[in-house]
């Protein structure tokens, strides 16, 4: 399944709903989207990964890069992920401690 990206703005947050596979081939598209949003002045990002089927280290790299970008503007990046197979990847790489990971959009937005 290819990568799908849907973006909307809500209460000062920009929500990117990601679907499909984030891998070495598709991750540059997610990176470009994050770069575009930050360039437009959207510094509080919520990345909803509920519909992501696959994530590799290239995708993780893009997320880390995005986090650095928004932090440079005192912004934030929160992730939404409740799939154990993806959460395991964050734990293995130590990134579970780097990102704020929520179980749902409602939970992530409630914290803003």
């Amino acid at each position: 399944m290819d990568l799908s990206l849907e973006t909307r703005h809500e209460d000062g947050n920009t929500i990117i709903e990601v679907g499909g596979e984030i891998d070495v081939y598709t991750a540059p598209r997610l990176r470009d989207k994050i770069t575009e949003l930050v360039g437009e002045g959207h510094y509080n990002l919520v990345i909803d990964m509920e519909k992501v089927d696959f994530l590799d280290s290239t995708g993780l790299g893009v997320l880390v890069g995005g986090l650095k970008k928004v932090r440079a503007h005192d912004g934030s990046m929160r992730l939404i992920c409740n799939q154990e197979r993806l959460l395991k990847i964050f734990r293995i790489t130590g990134l579970a401690k780097v990102f704020t990971i929520h179980g749902s959009q409602a939970e992530a937005l409630a914290e803003s």
């Binding site: 596979e21 891998d23 070495v24 081939y25 540059p28 990176r31 696959f54 590799d56 280290s57 290239t58 993780l60 790299g61 893009v62 997320l63 880390v64 890069g65 650095k68 197979r85 990847i89 293995i92 790489t93 130590g94 990134l95």
Partner: protein, 138 residues
Amino acid sequence: MPSVSGRAADSVTVTIAHDPALVRTVRLVAASVARRTGLDEEFVEEVRLAAGEACALFLGEGAARNGTPHDLPVAVTITLGDFLSIDVSSPGLVNVEDHPDSDLEGMEAWALLRGMIEDFSVSQDASSTTVSMRWPLS
């Protein structure tokens, strides 16, 4: 046909051009072979991820080759016997350690494989680099 200690092994080799779009094909083949073990989907998912991850190390933007062309093919051999093993190789030398200036936006590209696979090794000779991963099936 290659064999692995004791019983005949099935082996599949897929060679892909230097195109990240083709890594998905390798993942599909790896998952298909992994399912033949009869083990659970968590195992299948690990094998799928590992196969794609190893390819990405050769094909991704962060792949650093030491003085060799960047458009070389990658060969993936998946063998199912007493173990499930995956060997991913490509001509030329590839950096096999994460360096501060070669990481991918702060993510250490090798960290996931090293953290995920217990039986994991990288070998290099004058002409190629091979990443080998092995899972016991008993």
